[in-house]
Symmetry: C2
Subunit: 484 residues, 2 copies
């Protein structure tokens, strides 16, 4: 077995942490929030500094031409009930870094976490990866300080790269945006700065089950952790635990007492009992990429139809979907101490949910192939249900997304986890989604609509590894599962 | 072992074919060419029917708006010695089908091959897949006949899908073009029409070693055949041959007598002895995708700089790179009997070459991460050397592509295969590339420039499976290797 994978698994089973006990964490975290002064205020667009509406296009841009801009797109597609529309979208062509610095101490892999303020965050401060920076950010376009620990990610000699892939962000809000999701193991001595702390993967998984605590940037990277390789794949869950137990490093009792968790781990490791082979899944995906037509053209923001711009807000005529607002921010612990910026504000809460079912003795996840206009390649693999609730309230039942009514009327005993999670607070203003993991019984249909397919966790993980297959909502939802 | 993989392998080791003996093939093939009347003539642009230069853009377009068009792109990049240029490019947004219909007869898998005329073909007729059709083609935009056998690819019930992925075409000539590469196994009775014949994979591999015989569309699909799965991966070459031998279906003597072929097969099956893990390769690829900037904008053809348009040709001021010409075609066995169309004509022959070296006891291929303006995502994995020879003749040695001089001055005993192969004759006029497979010895450097990496065949195959990693030149070159 690759030592990388065993180190991830051991860390996932470890909740004891001499540097930061789980029971002390909340106090430390509250302390970090209180230690700093943050002030976030909604402001009219004309009070923004460095940001303005470009005359010829109406696009909302930064004076440097960097960071991001709010532009328009025109969309035509044969997927879904609406065939053509235009909308504002965030254009951020540069690839940012979402990175964890990790270190093995006494045989246990620890992740360096950051208590980070973002202007759009619910609760202002959330727990972030070690580094979260756009290129404009770490090349100091804002003329402020460099982000902490950036040097480990730019100059990687003496470090081991554990995860390093390009992953997409929200295709409904971003135009083909991608981030480098990276985990580095260092052997150097690391100074732990005041807003940072070491946590095990086991602790992180526990904290993922709290509402709005672990930010989206951390969750997407956690979802890229490969718990299985080809070589580990033959090992059944039980043998794995024996291996771990022999090393006397972690206590695996939690597993015996928790059937659902053992099912999840088994789904992550199993390479035999899937309903569809990976070739069949790729063929299904190929067929849908050809069936769905998606034409997206960048247009000036001022030509976007059915949207208006007031002094304070860019919004849809009927108040649907989202709006663009402006904030002013003061913070004493960021690269610069005050700035203004636009944020995207969703009009309603969203739902992201996986339906899970045991098929051939192993837990399968119901994946949806979803067309979103900002997607890099027409469709990505999304959760079973992913929608804004408000947009569908008025719709007739047949126009609603499949499985939405089922989820809204769910028997409570099928809900395995339900939390509220935010989107990225650097771009989204207090966006709040209900994350749900639902385990259905034998009576639930195996046959599903054409654009849905059952996959094991092992299969989903492999598609994450090869980039641009699994969308950010599905990845973040998976990180609540624990052990994966 | 998956029955799909064993069936491919058995077919690859089978050269005996009662329907078409290898020694009879050439006569049959020459007969197909003689049986039809083909007439291809260069014509001035203004003699084209249905094709014209669009007034507002200067683009060369079909009156239906379908098929393809010749447009312009403006390119800016930090890769290579030239940082910005504009050029004509083929825009063909629709996804075509390149498909093989196969059938198992007496336990052997046969591929239904087509002797097909394309106007740009060297030798006029080459051996093509069963089906080779754009959507405009099979939806009869030309108001002609439907392509033969299309029904098996549109309605796949009763068939087994063996391969089904989206693969890219030439990024230097096409703007993000992709085709569906598909292999179907049917259990139905198939009528073999007059220009078609059944061949085994073993016969096809033999024929790939002839100059300009197997067309590019067939070679790219052959390269997608997965000869290994996770389950087959533990089996070493020797055990595999025992398995096959026991079935008494094929003669594996050819292998014992041929060391190079056995090395190739071992490289295709081995999952242990690679120099880099797949995670390391993905990290290398991620790093390069971030390092290389590539901005491509579609522009009207009339704004392309340093290119001119005469009555007969669109060409570069210095006669470099390629030109666009027009042809009139008459053929008695195509969907329509006469038409006119533009073709792209390369100014010089090209070189595509893999350098191969035994590392850790297994054959590795030297892969290049290559930026091309029409690429779907900045870089793809390309052969060690891929260039037009003419463009580099005047360049100083340091400006020439790495390893080009090495290949041009190669000791003859290191050349494992050297053939001439065409590009797609429906778009390219007699384009001819020298395909080379070169095996270097222990004295050849293991350390290579940043944008090169050593990979086993098994690893290359896995990247082909997940789409948009391996470019068409690398895929086609691999199909000359045999057994893969």
């Amino acid at each position: 077995m690759d030592s990388k994978e065993i180190n991830f698994i051991i860390s996932a089973f470890t909740e004891y942490n001499p540097f930061m006990k789980t029971e002390d964490f909340m106090e430390w975290f509250a302390g970090r929030k209180e230690a700093h002064k943050f002030k976030i205020e909604l402001i009219p667009f004309n009070e923004m500094r460095e940001w303005s509406f470009e005359h010829s296009t109406g696009n909302l841009v930064h004076s440097s031409g960097k960071f991001f801009s709010i532009e328009g797109i025109w969309v035509e597609t044969n997927a879904g009930p609406v065939s053509t529309w235009s909308q504002p979208i965030i254009n951020q062509p540069e690839i940012g870094i979402l990175g964890f610095l990790t270190k093995r101490i006494d045989g246990i892999l620890y992740f360096l976490m950051q208590a980070k303020m973002e202007p759009g965050n619910i609760n202002t401060v959330q727990l972030a990866p070690t580094l979260q920076a756009t290129r404009s950010n770490y090349s100091c376009v804002h003329k402020g300080k460099k982000p902490h620990y950036i040097e480990y990610f730019l100059e990687k000699s003496g470090s081991k790269i554990l995860v390093d892939t390009l992953q997409s962000e929200q295709g409904a809000r971003f135009l083909k945006k991608r981030n480098r999701n990276i985990i580095i193991e260092t052997s150097k001595n690391i100074e732990v700065l005041e807003d940072y702390c070491w946590l095990t993967l086991g602790q992180l998984h526990k904290l993922c089950q709290h509402d709005n605590l672990i930010n989206m940037d951390a969750r997407t990277v956690l979802a890229c952790i490969p718990f299985m390789t080809y070589r580990i794949s033959g090992i059944r869950a039980d043998n794995l635990f024996e291996t771990i137990d022999k090393r006397k490093m972690v206590n695996v009792d939690i597993l015996d007492s928790d059937t659902f968790k053992s099912q999840v781990l088994s789904s992550a490791l199993d390479t035999e009992r899937h309903l569809k082979t990976s070739d069949e899944i790729i063929s299904w995906f190929t067929e849908l990429k050809i069936r769905y037509e998606l034409e997206v053209e960048r247009i000036p923001l001022k030509y976007v139809k059915n949207w208006q711009c007031s002094d304070n807000e860019i919004f849809h005529d009927e108040g649907k979907y989202f709006s663009v607002i402006a904030v002013s921010v003061e913070a004493d612990n960021r690269e610069i101490s005050s700035w203004t910026q636009p944020l995207v504000k969703s009009q309603d809460t969203g739902i992201v949910a996986f339906i899970m079912k045991t098929i051939n003795g192993v837990l399968h996840f119901l994946i949806q192939a979803k067309v979103e206009p900002g997607n890099f390649d027409v469709i990505e693999m999304a959760p079973t249900v992913q929608c804004i609730t408000g947009s569908y309230k008025q719709d007739k039942p047949l126009d609603r997304p499949p499985f939405l009514d089922f989820i809204l009327n769910l028997p409570p005993d099928q809900m395995r986890l339900s939390t509220l999670q935010s989107e990225e607070g650097g771009r989204f203003f207090r966006e709040n989604n209900q994350n749900m993991l639902i385990e259905v019984g034998d009576d639930f249909q195996v046959d599903v609509p054409d654009n849905y397919i059952w996959m094991t966790m092992n299969q989903i993980k492999r598609f994450i590894k090869y980039n641009n297959f699994v969308n950010v909502e599905a990845r973040c939802l998976m990180s609540s599962l624990g052990f994966i």
